[in-house]
């Protein structure tokens, strides 16, 4: 997908002016947050599970070379073929070759953010292979040539009216179709796709090193169909998706489903261990696993940012983020949005390309509080800001301003003098207790949509000199 991370602030302004988007986002995030909070409150041990899952992920990442080796050996032992790609270009090339050598004409796809990241659909189309997105949300986006705005609900930025019109145009459903009618139409159309497809492509939620089991979590059943009907199953995964043992899964599934959709269990969890075995009549004949780096090993090599690779893509940090709630996912300009996007995207795309994203936070801490694997998101946002400053990406005026502030703030007499001057200036520009027209660049942007109070005539420290001897207050 086209990267527009550089223009985050402008994207966000545009999003804020889109009333339809605002309605959709407010509804969606409020529903997600409400369900998540309720589901989490039910589990007394949720905090313990978060700590455990975070620790298991951190451990796996620390020894990822070992666990990847183990995973690959396990999958190959089961007769699966494992492929490795350094980046998106190589990954697409591998998929294209797999499709062409196996005479694949149609591919059914389950939702995968990684496939959006590497632009797999475009690569398949260029090779003459037809990809069909089968997750309802992704299918809606494919019909509308749109891109996901949320990890869990890719089309939550769209209203029902928009989708009804889209289905009317493409599937011939009535102009006033209700949601069950739309769903039924999608089922019918996509079922044909499943039955004729030669290859199914899915992502991976967890890859179990010990057994070579791939774990896929969903509610719709499209992943089950994608991994059951076509003769070839190709799973693509970022190299960070490994967990050590099957025994780790119950805890991960608990925190994932409750954090993502507020369900006690997702409708379907598929544990797939190799392709069809001798004596079995169903399931894919061939199974391929493609493990992709695409910038992740650089994040892994960074001891601070490594924690971002714990992410299990539940979307809870997006839903809880008051900035995301206002602007939605597209404003962030790439596949991963919200707090995790603001932390991960600079790691994957480089800070130069994405330096606005870590600024897109009031550092309220809501994201860190909900993350089911305890990624220290607020700290990592600050870490990116620190690096931006260190690399001189923050701009000369800001640097000079903060430098001057620090100079004054460490010199009490100078502080008193300059704040007194500042207050005097501010009061001269004020009327009725509020500033009128800011000439400072910073205040100008504040005053566009908010009032700013006039500074006090007398500072507290001046008042203190009276208060210090004043004993009448008691």
């Amino acid at each position: 997908m086209k990267i527009t991370t550089k223009t985050f602030a402008a994207n966000a302004r545009e999003a804020l002016n889109d009333t339809q988007l605002k309605t959709a986002m407010k509804r969606a995030t409020a529903a997600f947050v409400g369900k998540r909070n309720q589901a989490v409150a039910e589990r007394e041990d949720f905090e313990e599970l978060r700590s455990y899952c975070g620790a298991v992920k951190a451990h796996t990442l620390d020894y990822l070379d070992h666990y990847l080796e183990q995973l690959v050996t396990s999958v190959e032992r089961l007769g699966g073929q494992v492929h490795f790609a350094a980046d998106g270009v190589e990954a697409n090339q591998i998929v294209r070759e797999l499709a062409l050598t196996n005479d694949v004409e149609t591919v059914v796809k389950a939702k995968s953010m990684l496939s959006e990241e590497i632009e797999l659909n475009e690569a398949l189309e260029a090779a003459g292979v037809t990809p069909i997105e089968t997750d309802l949300g992704e299918y809606i986006l494919q019909l509308d040539h749109d891109v996901p705005s949320h990890i869990i609900g890719p089309a939550i930025h769209k209203t029902k009216e928009q989708i009804t019109a889209l289905f009317h145009e493409h599937l011939g459903t009535p102009e006033d179709a209700d949601i069950p009618t739309l769903t039924a139409a999608a089922r019918q159309t996509l079922r044909e796709g499943f039955l004729q497809a030669d290859m199914g492509i899915t992502g991976v939620n967890f890859a179990v090193a010990e057994t070579g089991t791939l774990v896929l979590v969903e509610n719709e059943g499209n992943i089950r169909l994608t991994t059951s009907l076509p003769r070839i199953h190709l799973a693509i995964m970022g190299l960070e998706k490994v967990i050590p043992r099957l025994e780790d899964l119950p805890a991960f599934l608990t925190v994932l489903s409750r954090s993502a959709t507020g369900q006690r269990a997702s409708s379907y969890v598929s544990l797939l261990t190799g392709a069809r075995r001798p004596g079995e009549e169903e399931g894919p004949e061939a199974f391929h696993l493609l493990i992709i780096d695409n910038g992740r090993s650089a994040v892994l090599a960074d001891p601070k940012l490594r924690d971002a690779l714990r992410c299990i893509r539940c979307g809870a940090c997006l839903n809880s983020c008051p900035v995301y709630q206002q602007v939605g996912g597209h404003a962030y300009g790439w596949v991963y949005s919200g707090p995790i996007g603001a932390v991960l995207d600079p790691g994957l795309l480089g800070l130069e390309e994405t330096k606005q994203l870590p600024q897109a936070s009031s550092l309220c801490g809501a994201c860190g509080e909900v993350c089911p694997v305890k990624i220290p998101l607020p700290e990592l946002l600050i870490e990116h800001r620190r690096r931006a400053v260190e690399r001189g990406l923050s701009g000369r005026p800001e640097r000079a301003g903060v430098g001057a502030f620090a100079f004054v703030a460490t010199r009490p007499r100078l502080w008193e003098l300059s704040t007194a001057m500042g207050r005097g200036g501010g009061r001269a520009l004020s009327r009725d207790g509020y500033l009128q027209g800011g000439w400072l660049p910073l205040l100008k942007s504040w005053l566009e949509e908010r009032d700013f109070p006039a500074p006090a005539a007398t500072s507290f420290r001046q008042r203190w000199r009276e208060l210090a001897t004043d004993r009448d207050d008691r």
Binding site: F32, F84, A86, P180, L225, P244, Q263, A265, Y268, L300
Partner: protein, 204 residues
């Protein structure tokens, strides 16, 4: 990229060398509550209903057939697919149901399951039951015996045996989506109706 190059790249990122030791992975403190076997059935049924499924308790295997007939009447079902389990193969099916000629034409899948997970109302499907019979038709009926109920996924995994099956699907309630305005809609791809017939005692 070659496997060895890829792994080397990861190893390099971690500043590790071949043969460097690996610390043991963290272990979750066990606190499996003691489950009263009678409570399992009640919990399973309650959780399943909460997830949008239907639980029907039958006293014996012989009572499955009339219960199936009632379902067939209720939903107007005609053609079935069967799961591969022995329990299902030995069922006495109501006469109004006949096998589907093509899997895609079936309107009901009748299967067994490996386990029922009480704490989430989940059935664990594998083989044919996971891939076709319990997936393609709009209605899915699972016949489960009380001995197959376990407290949780952890317990089911512990009992999975020496070989991990090729497919192990945990199904909790019907297929659902909330992709349009977060409004719940069932049966988008998999079964829209999921019924578990819990046989309380095996026997005649």
């Amino acid at each position: 990229m070659k496997r060895s190059d890829f792994i080397d790249r990861v190893r390099g990122a971690l500043h590790r060398s071949v043969g460097d030791p690996v610390e043991p992975a963290p272990v979750l403190r066990e606190h499996q509550d003691a489950w009263d076997p009678d409570a399992l059935a009640a919990r399973f049924s309650a959780e399943l209903e909460a997830a949008g499924g239907r639980a029907i308790a039958v006293a014996t295997k012989a009572e499955v057939s009339p219960a199936l007939e009632a379902l067939a009447d209720e939903f107007g079902l005609e053609r079935y697919l069967l799961g591969g389990e022995e329990l299902v193969a030995t069922l006495n099916l109501p006469s109004r149901l006949r096998p589907a000629d093509e899997p895609a034409e079936a309107d009901i899948g009748i299967t067994g399951a490996r386990f029922g997970l009480a704490d989430t109302g989940t059935v664990v499907l594998s083989g044919r039951s996971a891939r076709l019979a319990g997936l393609l038709p709009m209605h899915h009926v699972i016949v489960l015996t009380r001995e197959q109920l376990v407290p949780s996924m952890a317990e089911a995994l512990a009992r999975r045996g020496a070989e991990t099956p090729s497919s192990w699907v945990q199904a909790t309630g019907p297929s659902r989506t909330a992709d349009i305005e977060l409004t719940l809609s069932t049966g988008v791809h998999g079964p829209g109706v999921l019924v578990v017939m819990l046989v309380l005692e095996i026997g005649e």
